[in-house]
């Protein structure tokens, strides 16, 4: 019809397909940019997702308008991804996701069909449509009842009734607030408030003040027994809003300017807590001891923060006690002004930076270090968390004690003590850090008695001595596999066995959670994001793709990899020492060299080795390079033939046979590995020995295989991970090459070919086929 109306149908088909492919290419490019890498296997499974997205989108938005149609595809994709995110958030195993997505697509289709049938007039309704309508309410009802039932069950029956409810709220994800929260949670558990008798509502306002009020409302609605307010803004809001329920604050500098009380024992009847401001006169005293002589202090602060102003006032007062110390101050209003302010101070000829507590200044600490570096000026501050980043000396409070003291107060309140009689407490423990590396750079000599009383010391070589009493909390480790391949499972078993044998899980109070991406890249990405957002303490990845995905999502958590043939090609590292700071691991390359060496031992007269490989595979390329070098070393001629897919392998092998090769070799090439049984058969006809790098290949007809023992690789990876868990820094651990070789000999074929093998070599083999 279109053709009869003068439309060039073929042209339009080509045009449509071209546009579609262009869009596919564009989205592939976007994904590659987003993930930071690309792989040939990435598209597998994506078509189904694309289709599901389009189906969902078209059911949600119905229109014949082309713009709306494009929008519907985008909406569908977002809905679909949201669904996966939700499922992961709820805590579904990634293995169950496939079922879940299938059900979801089915459900969407069903609902739309139902709605459509309702819309259509009854005259045009088909028989099947009527049937669908008849059963639809029943089915939807069943689903709804199921969901509601599961919800009710999980809320009312699965958990026994709680006796206590504690609401914990912090204003933002900030180092010392997190420390306070964690120490509080650990301590409250120690005091006997376990999951059985106490419900903990732990919330974070993510830096938004309106959230604080909303969360406090939630606490009130849930009728919590005590509210724990971590940080000044939360305390301020809680004092205003909550008048009947006890409020315990922690990590607040000065509760008196918040009007929480007049003195430690005279305070609001429902409020108590832990507080303390950093004694700036003490900081100045230490500064005097570390840096003698005439001093000009560079100070910066945000005048809008009451706490900062208070601290600076203290400092100014302290400075008046010294004749030879001068104060040079500058105001800032946001973190992007910090660098400029620091530079202006440097230009004014200051001798050092002294930074009183100020959230904005501390958040941009790196830029101050950069400005100070130009003249090697020392920096003294109050946050021990930033000691390693370049501060010479820090003096402040140890905020773990803040949480512990708050927990003890909560315990007293829950035991019935009258809160009005519980006085405010000051922090009971200080933290003092000395960075000798930074001191050396600035030419500052720190007196020995200060070094001896420091709780955290960074030595000249960068190693760390930590004297703070450690909290013993649960360590969570994520084990991330990309698929269920035989070797991957062997590696994984090695890791598990090692941890079990060394009793690591119990000794370290560690949990090991296994994640599997089911060979799909999009799933791998979601899983990696989940691991990062759940704040696991350590990550172990087994296989190259999981390493890649994880490395792109995680920049902080210590990460140990294993079962990876070449981490250098992926930008994880430049050399074994020079790698991404939080990532290290075990490299296992196929033992190509040793297999060539063995060939020389068995066949002293052989001259040429034939190899077939796919240049598109990075791993294969690496192996072939090694083979070239090894062949030169052992006096072989390497004859190479390239293939791009498995169907070409047969012809390639034939061409090699016709070139009269003496031995045929395959290493870590996935394209060729698929065809191993066929190659074995072809080579057997011509009595050419077949050498491979996968241990079990002898069973399908190879003559000799020298493979890596992946179980051992797993154990080695776990050993490496244990080093990190025991406190070594990933930065200092070099990427370690580990190839546990295992040889498998086919004596049956040797007899057939008339090859005599020395008993010594036979003894070396881990397994022999007779």
């Amino acid at each position: 019809m279109a053709s009869a109306s003068g439309v060039n149908v073929e042209l339009f088909k080509i045009f449509a397909v071209a546009v579609a492919n262009g869009l596919v290419g564009l989205s592939g490019g976007l994904i590659a940019q987003y993930q930071g890498f690309a792989d040939i296997g990435m598209g597998i499974g994506t078509v189904v997702i694309g289709l599901a997205s389009v189906i969902i989108g078209e059911s949600v938005l119905k229109s014949r308008n082309i713009a709306v149609k494009i929008l519907s595809a985008i909406v569908g994709a977002v809905v679909f991804r949201l669904m996966i995110a939700c499922a992961l958030f709820i805590g579904f195993n990634p293995n169950d996701l496939k079922l879940l997505t299938a059900l979801f697509v089915l459900f969407t289709l069903f609902i739309t069909k139902y709605l459509n049938d309702n819309k259509k007039s009854s005259t045009s309704e088909s028989k099947s449509g009527r049937q669908v309508r008849k059963y639809a309410p029943v089915l939807i009802g069943v689903v709804l009842i199921g969901v509601v039932g599961a919800f009710v069950y999980s809320t009312f029956f699965s958990k026994p009734a709680k006796t206590f409810k504690i609401g914990v709220l912090q204003v933002a994800d900030n180092g010392l607030l997190n420390i306070t929260r964690e120490s509080f949670l650990v301590e409250i558990k120690k005091l006997g408030y376990t999951e059985e008798n106490c419900e903990l509502l732990v919330e974070n306002a993510n830096g938004e003040l309106p959230n604080v009020n909303a969360i406090l409302d939630k606490f009130l609605m849930n009728k919590v027994d005590v509210i724990v307010a971590i940080s000044t803004p939360v305390t301020q809001a809680a004092i205003k809003k909550v008048t009947k329920i006890p409020v315990v604050f922690a990590t607040v500098a000065n509760p008196f300017i918040l009007k929480a009380g007049e003195s430690d024992s005279v305070h609001l009847p429902n409020v108590t807590g832990v507080y303390g401001w950093v004694p700036m006169e003490k900081v100045l005293e230490y500064t005097r001891q570390i840096i003698p002589g005439k001093l000009k202090l560079g100070v910066m602060w945000d005048p809008a923060q009451a706490n900062s102003v208070f601290n600076v006032e203290q400092l100014k007062k302290a400075v008046t006690n010294y004749n030879d110390i001068e104060f040079e101050g500058v105001h800032i209003a946001s973190s992007n002004e910090v660098y400029q302010a620091a530079q202006s101070l440097v230009a004014k000829g200051i001798n050092m930076f002294l930074l009183p507590p100020d959230n904005i200044v501390y958040s941009a600490f790196e830029s101050i270090v950069k400005a100070a570096d130009t003249r090697n000026l020392p920096i003294i501050m109050c946050d021990i968390e930033r000691l390693e980043s370049g501060s010479v000396f820090t003096y402040g409070y140890d905020y773990t004690i803040s949480g512990i003291q708050a927990a003890n107060m909560v315990n007293r309140i829950l035991n019935g003590e009258n809160i009005a009689n519980i006085p405010f407490e000051r922090y009971k423990r200080v933290s003092m850090g000395v960075n000798l590396k930074a001191a050396e750079k600035c030419g500052v000599i720190v007196p020995d008695d200060i070094i001896n009383s420091a709780t955290l010391i960074v030595n000249k070589d960068g190693s760390i001595i930590d004297k703070t009493p450690k909290l013993k909390s649960k360590i969570r480790t994520a084990l991330f596999l990309f698929n269920d391949s035989k070797s991957a499972l062997e590696v994984s078993k090695g890791v598990n066995d090692f941890f079990k044998e060394k009793n690591v899980l119990k000794k370290k109070n560690m949990t090991l959670d296994v994640f599997n991406a089911q060979n799909e890249f999009h799933l791998a990405n979601s899983v990696a994001q989940k691991i990062v957002s759940n704040n696991y303490d350590y990550i172990i990845t087994l296989s190259t793709p999981s390493l890649q995905v994880m490395a792109n999502n995680n920049k902080k958590i210590p990460h140990v990899f294993g079962f990876v043939s070449d981490p250098y090609r992926m930008g994880i590292a430049k050399d074994s020492m020079n790698h991404i700071e939080n990532i290290t691991g075990v490299q296992t390359l196929q033992p190509v060299e040793s297999s060539i060496k063995t060939i020389r031992e068995i066949l002293p007269k052989a001259k040429t080795i034939g190899i077939v490989w796919n240049p598109a595979e990075a791993c294969s390329e690496a192996c072939t390079e090694i083979a070239r070098k090894a062949c030169e070393l052992y006096g072989f001629k390497l004859v190479e033939v390239n293939v791009t897919n498995t169907s070409e392998v047969q012809e390639a092998v034939n061409s090699l046979i016709s070139k009269k090769i003496d031995v045929f070799l395959t290493s870590g090439d996935n394209t060729v590995v698929m065809a191993v049984p066929m190659i074995a058969k072809m080579l057997k006809e011509h009595k050419i020995p077949f050498v491979t790098n996968a241990f079990s290949d002898v069973e399908v007809g190879a003559f000799l295989s020298v493979g890596a023992d992946y179980y051992e690789v797993g154990r080695e990876t776990a050993k490496y991970a244990l080093k990190v868990i025991n406190g070594s820094r990933t930065k200092d651990l070099k990427i370690y090459k580990f190839v546990p070789e295992k040889m498998y000999l086919n004596l049956k074929l040797a007899e057939e070919y008339g090859i005599k093998i020395d008993q010594k070599i036979i003894n070396k083999a881990a397994k022999v086929l007779r």
């Binding site: 019809m1 009869a4 109306s5 149908v9």
Partner: protein, 270 residues
């Protein structure tokens, strides 16, 4: 207007199913002619129509339209001269598009320039005017999907689409065969009306001898891929349906038609 010289076409050449569909057709159709074609099943009526339209390319011979040779031109290129109405009411329109969109598609015939400017209020108003001529109260339904219309309505739209650009040649391929008698009469009336209004050159294949005699100024009878009779307006006035049947009977004698085929003919024409 249309000149066809010695046109041959074989389908499935060299196989057991070989069909010699056109065996040297020679015909000249003048401007303003309204030609009806009748013939038995498989006589080559539709094949001839499709050869003019360019659905396939002939094995031998040549076709000229308005003095231009189109023998080897592809279908969509010839569409600037030719418009068609098919037997199946569903194949002349796009069911997933609205009435206005279908008409717009048809009115772009032969004048396709890219990018195509879409529908606007002005063009929709013109289409409403055109739809009024169908007298089917469809002028208010320009936004309904074609798929929601009945077969007769769809065929009327197809017809309107075919004539909306005043084509040089209008090809009608048994376009009333699939309709109920009432709709068929409606469509025939519209066909007559449009052809007379624009003085179109039209070729119509039909199964009804009555129609063949009543409509047009010339009738062609076909059998086994050949033209066996070419009747002028004067001849047609003289002849009755029975005369036509007798003509076919003569063939029967000549070619010894089996009784089965005669039954076939009777079923079809009486």
């Amino acid at each position: 207007m249309i000149t066809i010289n010695n046109l041959h076409k074989k389908f499935n050449q060299g196989t057991l199913n070989e069909v010699y569909a056109l065996k040297g057709i020679n015909i000249k159709i003048n401007k303003g002619d309204f030609v009806t074609i009748i013939g038995t099943n498989g006589s080559g009526k539709s094949t001839l129509l499709n050869a003019i339209a360019g659905t396939f390319l002939p094995d031998e011979g040549s076709i000229f339209i308005d003095g231009n040779e189109v023998t080897n031109q592809v279908e969509f290129k010839r569409a600037k001269y030719i418009s068609r109405v098919f037997q199946n009411p569903f194949s002349g329109t796009a069911a997933e598009m609205t009435i206005a969109e279908n008409l717009h598609l048809a009115s772009l015939r032969g004048s396709r320039r890219y990018p195509i400017i879409g529908l606007n209020h002005q063009s929709i108003n013109t289409y409403k005017e055109e739809l009024k001529q169908l007298e089917m109260q469809m002028e208010d339904r320009t936004d309904s999907l074609i798929g929601t219309l009945s077969g007769g309505q769809r065929q009327a739209i197809t017809l309107l689409m075919a004539v909306i650009k005043r084509p040089l040649v209008l090809l009608l391929d048994e376009h009333t065969a699939a309709l109920d008698p009432k709709s068929a009469a409606q469509i025939i009336n519209l066909t007559k009306k449009f052809i007379e209004r624009d003085n179109l050159t039209a070729v119509m294949v039909t199964h009804s001898m009555q129609q063949a005699l009543e409509l047009g100024n010339r009738t062609i009878m076909m059998n086994k891929g050949e033209i066996i009779e070419d009747l002028s307006l004067a001849d047609k006035r003289r002849l009755t349906v029975n005369d036509l049947l007798n003509k076919f009977s003569e063939i029967r004698k000549k070619e010894k038609l089996t009784d089965e085929l005669v039954l076939d003919l009777k079923n079809e024409y009486i």
